[in-house]
């Protein structure tokens, strides 16, 4: 294990290198570009030993890695924003085909108008593609998430998307600890698929299904997605045991225990929110920040368990759930708490769109505004 300080994209590239990827295809897009460039450099120096194909579009990138995954390869691609939207069709294909592709999405705003900066609209627009989605708030999480993603993806045969904020994480430098290759090998042995596209095995992948077969596959995917929650929990524990390093929970709470006010968010904002909770506590409001690490499937049980009866939950989203007030996390949190006996006031807002800088004071203003609404 060694401590390094690198950009988020380099942290991701180093993890990709250690994860033993067989096949990668990617197309450049800001702010992902430096990630695929970094891996191209690793390929040029011979450190990356897999096949790396420079395709002509994100649609082709996802098509190629999905196909390579069907052959049994451990595959990786990365994109951002429009690139992710361009992949959308094939995202459904990869999950429906139960192909354990892992992808990094460097969160960035989507058209129109053009905007290059951090915004979660790109990944949340893929919410119902059947992909599992991890979010990161620092470089350590980016690095560790790559291994976790492969671990879970290959166990449940569902693709995983790792999202982290463009520029704020992708291009910033932060320290993180790498893990020795031997430990990673132990955590992530070579992929051993039950089926692969090969003449020795045979099979026609994804030909036309009638309603009954189709719905059975889709229900199975939905069930397995929910079941993956436990696989995530177990896989995080296994990683902790192997590395001896504490991992954040699916929803990581920080700040005051038994707080009255909880601040739920994901991505880089979730880190700054820890400072907001501290600031609120200083002002006499017992606050705790909740960092969501896994967005799909949504860890509802964790959320319900953390929140004490009578508390207030403020949810801040870097996205908009059009047609519903606030963003997707707000929607998700309200849905999770509906069945709970606990009486919890939930308020939500969308902030930081298009990379609007979320300083402690900006976040504090929004939280205070929502707390006023809660009082009213």
């Amino acid at each position: 294990m060694s401590k390094r300080i690198e950009t988020g994209n380099t942290a991701c590239a180093l993890a990709v290198l250690a994860a033993g990827i067989d096949y990668m295809a990617a197309y450049p897009i800001t702010p992902q570009t430096t990630l695929s460039e970094k891996i191209a450099n690793f390929a040029a120096t011979g450190e990356f030993t897999g096949k790396y194909v420079l395709v002509e579009s994100e649609h082709s990138a996802m098509s190629a890695v999905a196909a390579a995954s069907a052959v049994g390869a451990r595959t990786f691609t990365a994109t951002s924003s429009q690139g992710l939207l361009h992949m959308h069709e094939i995202l459904h294909y990869a999950s429906g085909g139960r192909l354990p592709v892992v992808m990094a999405n460097i969160n960035r705003a989507v058209l129109a108008p053009w905007c290059l900066y951090a915004d979660h609209q790109d990944s949340i627009s893929q919410r119902d593609t059947g992909w599992l989605q991890l979010f990161c708030s620092n470089h350590q999480e980016i690095y560790d998430s790559v291994f976790l993603a492969y671990k879970v993806a290959e166990k449940v045969d569902i693709p995983v998307m790792i999202s982290y904020d463009g520029f704020l994480l992708s291009h910033s430098l932060l320290p993180f600890e790498t893990v020795d290759d031997s430990v990673i090998k132990q955590y992530l042995p070579d992929r051993d698929p039950a089926w692969r596209l090969h003449p020795d095995i045979g099979g026609n992948f994804s030909n036309v299904a009638m309603a009954a077969e189709y719905s059975a596959y889709r229900h199975r995917l939905a069930d397995d997605t929910l079941k993956s929650l436990q696989i995530f929990r177990d896989s995080i524990k296994e990683y902790e045991n192997l590395t001896g390093r504490k991992q954040p929970d699916l929803i990581e709470a920080s700040g005051t225990e038994n707080a009255n006010v909880y601040l739920l968010s994901m991505g880089s904002m979730a880190s700054e929110m820890e400072l907001v909770a501290t600031e609120l506590t200083k002002q006499g409001i017992n606050a705790s920040a909740l960092k969501l690490r896994l967005y799909r499937p949504f860890p509802s049980d964790e959320l319900v368990n953390i929140l004490p009866d009578g508390s207030t939950l403020i949810v801040l989203d870097r996205n908009i759930a059009y047609g519903h007030p606030g963003g997707v996390l707000y929607m998700e949190a309200r849905s999770a708490l509906y069945e709970s006996d606990k009486k919890i006031r939930v308020l939500g807002g969308s902030v930081g769109l298009g990379g609007v800088d979320l300083t402690v004071s900006v976040l504090l203003n929004e939280v205070n505004r929502l707390l006023e609404v809660a009082k009213a």
Binding site: D192, A194, I201, G203
Partner: protein, 89 residues
């Protein structure tokens, strides 16, 4: 090939079988009748049959699947194949 037998196959995969569309003889209104006497063994019927129904050895036709397209009759240079109305001999 390190195939893990224990793991369940979750991918939507079909396996090859004969007659995916059933016995497609139901699709036809005419059937091809080969006159072995006339046949010169050129094998054009064998190569052009879309359903792989004609034997290269003896040009016998697997009528269970024949859709009656008549390409064999059409392409036979010596008119050794005749299309017969379904139900007639």
């Amino acid at each position: 090939m390190n195939t893990n037998e224990k793991k369940e196959i979750l991918q939507p995969v079909s396996m090859p079988v004969e007659g995916v569309a059933g016995f497609t003889s139901a699709w036809r209104s005419q059937w091809p009748k080969l006159d072995s006497e006339k046949c010169n063994g050129c094998l054009l019927c064998w190569i052009f049959c879309p359903e792989t129904l004609i034997s290269r050895e003896d040009r016998s036709i697997d009528l269970r699947y024949c859709k009656g397209c008549a390409v064999c009759a059409r392409e036979c240079p010596v008119n050794a194949i005749e299309m017969i109305r379904e139900g007639e001999e």
